[in-house]
């Protein structure tokens, strides 16, 4: 499709966009990209620049003069940030596991044509996408179940996304019934079929949905603010808010007891925390971008 489009746009067939409009377009796109890239560059640079450079440039460095890892060393010396990183990893890993288990099983049971109770269950899933019950009632339910200050409060309420269940269900429905029938003739029950045939066939979509959940857990901030008051259980996003956005000073106690006069500048530590919270997203980003765009489209452009 696209090559075909390009043929029409080549010079000779078409006179092409005027020079001025091409220049304008390039300038606009370059500016757009710069607006996204430069802040990242600055954040990383500030986290590794030398102390004098950070101080001299007023707290934000665009290009580092050195590779100085003191800020990272002070963070991984034990203390608040390291602990929060651990909490975030536990939530993202555990949460994704719980989410995937619940969602795939639910989606599979909804994907078998004519199964008992399918319509009402499907309606329950779909309506959960269309409304959210509201902050106060959510809080009361979490409180009623005694989940305040428990990491489960950060996992269970958001564990099942109706949208992801629907995505998984559409994929499962696309698996040819004949494949499942042959297993059924061999005497495999529904769970056996799900576990040894459907899941292995669905690796790609499982990876996408799993990452969807993982990014959600990693980025979640407000539920932690609402439900977790014990600072020892704070995830990274909450630490980020407290020490970077609200600019609370990180004392040497917060950083595992390093001598106060040896601490790197606050700005560098702050930016190092930011980089740490960015890294997992950047690592999975190439995968996210490729598959999410595709996933968005399979769902959306049919209509």
């Amino acid at each position: 499709m696209s090559t075909q489009t390009n043929v029409y746009r080549q010079k000779g067939i078409d006179d092409g966009p005027a020079m001025s409009s091409r220049v304008l377009k390039t300038v606009v796109l370059v500016v757009c990209c710069a607006v996204v890239v430069i802040p990242f560059l600055g954040v990383i640079s500030t986290s590794i620049a030398s102390q004098e450079h950070v101080t001299n440039s007023g707290g934000f460095v665009l290009w580092p003069d050195a590779l100085n890892l003191d800020a990272y060393k002070s963070i991984f010396n034990g203390g608040v940030v390291q602990r929060a990183l651990l909490v975030s990893i536990v939530i993202a890993a555990g949460g994704t596991l719980i989410s995937l288990a619940g969602s795939t099983m639910l989606a599979y049971s909804l994907s078998r044509p004519g199964s008992f109770g399918q319509r009402p269950i499907l309606m329950i899933v779909l309506f959960s996408i269309l409304f959210s019950p509201g902050l106060i009632p959510n809080y009361l339910v979490v409180k009623q179940f005694g989940l305040l200050d428990s990491l489960f409060a950060l996992i269970l309420p958001t564990a099942i996304s109706g949208f992801n269940v629907i995505v998984l269900r559409s994929f499962f429905m696309g698996i040819p019934e004949s494949v499942l029938d042959s297993a059924r003739i061999d005497g495999a029950g529904d769970f056996r079929i799900f576990w040894s045939i459907v899941l292995p066939l669905s690796r790609a979509v499982l990876a996408v949905v799993g990452l969807f959940y993982a990014v959600g857990y990693w980025n979640a901030f407000f539920n932690a603010m609402l439900y977790i008051s014990d600072t020892a259980k704070w995830p990274l996003q909450l630490v980020l808010r407290t020490y970077v956005i609200n600019n609370t000073e990180l004392s040497s106690g917060d950083l595992g007891g390093a001598a106060a006069d040896q601490l790197p500048p606050q700005e560098s530590i702050q930016m190092a925390i930011l980089v740490i919270s960015l890294v997992p997203i950047l690592i999975v980003y190439p995968f996210l971008q490729r598959h999410f765009a595709k996933g968005m489209l399979t769902g959306a452009v049919k209509g």
Binding site: G42, G117, P137, I160, V167, L274, V301
Partner: protein, 347 residues
Amino acid sequence: MARTDAINSLQTDRSTPGEVAGAAGSGPPGTGMDSRNGPRTAGKPLSWWARARRDKVLLLMALPGLVLLLVFHYLPLLGNLIAFQEYLPFVPFGRSAWVGLDNFAVIFNGDPEFLNALKNTLLITLVQVVFVFPAPIALALMLNSLLSERIKRIVQSVLYLPHFLSWVIVIAIFQQLLGGSGLINNFLRSHGMGTIDFLGNPDGFIALLTSQVIWKDTGWGTILFLAALTQIDPGLYEAARVDGASRWRQLWHVTVPGIRALIILLLILRLGDSLTVGFEQIILQQNLVGRPASEVLDTYVYNNGVLAGQWGVSAAVGLVKGLVAVVLVLGANKIAHIFGEAGVYKK
């Protein structure tokens, strides 16, 4: 965005199970499999109880996910009952005194704080529909007209990225750029100019919010439009050119009609969300600008309910907000039908 997809799968849903079921049931009924393991569409209809027993494994598999949804999405709906109660945290659940519609008084009597939150919410929605909504369309048109696929892909990779960052990170990054010791103010200071208070200025707050949303989601927002653009028949452009249409006229008469249905669909969804504006985004920045300029309905519910303990009143506001949102989506959809568009769902 996610809602669009789900709703569309709901639309297409009616055709797919039929096909799958058709494939499954294509063999003659009763191909020798017993009723427990046989395909569910084959054979004579089973009784209610027999079907439940046959599918008990499937039902058990659905159970964990279903319970989580019921407990954390549907049970809270019942919790909305406290909107009609004088709720006190230390009184056991269900024993609070019923107070009828007292909690709704802030809405009916026009409590100034509530009205201010409502005003801010609607103003922010209006500004964002005007400035945020068209941004991905413009960007998609620009990307679509690029000659080089490679450059297009690189630009997309860069511009999609911010979508995956949390609001905490986005705001932290904005502070590094616009804060008192941020990039821009440092530059101004070192060149002997006065600094600008971007983050704590109540008058500029909506502009700040809007620019953050544009930064975070414009790139990602292009995906749907780019896909819709590739669906347009290139022959239409050719025909338009033969008729002597300029590039602008082609844009207006071929491109825009090609993506009109999508624009309307997304506008309807946005309208349904009129009363929901960037809760996390605002709560993170509220202490810098103060509540009068930044209070929206969601932060009002949080600040008055969770923080100030007016549980009943906040739940009442939240409940009304939810109901109004449903009415807005249905209403907008109705309007779309009147104008002959497909809207979110078909009749």
